[in-house]
């Protein structure tokens, strides 16, 4: 699969609700970060959770966030957080 994003691209995590097994935690939804690396393509776990084959494969990214962008009251300075997010949860951000 051709990745839609490349390292350095700014991306925003979609802020939507979705039932079932979802691996995008609420604390990053609606937040903007930077792609750190393309991890690869994998069966979609949201489908695997229902015994389906997980097709089409989804591209997984490691996304870098500033902690101060994630938490309103964060006082840890320049700390960051990296988390792996599937492409269908990401949009391009300016």
């Amino acid at each position: 699969m051709t990745p839609r994003f490349q390292p350095g691209d700014r991306v925003r995590v979609d802020d939507r609700e979705q039932p079932g097994h979802v691996r995008t935690p609420h604390y990053v939804r609606g937040k903007t970060g930077v792609v750190e690396r393309v991890v690869g393509s994998f069966p979609n776990p949201e489908q695997l959770a229902y015994g389906l084959p997980g097709l089409p494969y989804k591209v997984l990214y490691r996304v870098h966030f500033r902690q101060t962008d994630l938490w309103d009251d964060y006082r840890g300075g320049d700390d960051s957080l990296e988390i792996e997010i599937y492409e269908h949860w990401l949009d391009a951000a300016s």
Binding site: H21, Y27, L48, G51
Partner: protein
Amino acid sequence: MRGPADMGGLPAGPVAPDGHVPTHWEKRIDAMMMLLFDPKRRLARVDESRRMQEALGEDYLKYGYYDRWLQAITWLMLEKGVFSQEELDAKKAALKPGLEADRA
């Protein structure tokens, strides 16, 4: 729609690692899951187990770690028709005395 495992950022107390040593019962649950989920049998996948564990909702934290696994495995096997609720109940009734001694 926030699942019980999606607790990042929610208020919580300090984490106290207890140095827990897995019990024989816990190892058996682990072995059972490995056998049911391995590529040879693939009766279910870990993603399906997660869906079932998250379906516990408010009960999620009332269950122990391996209790959640056992509940998930049980629900998955019922969902897939590997065994029926009646068969499960009959088997549990037959094995109950031994199981209670075994878990200790």
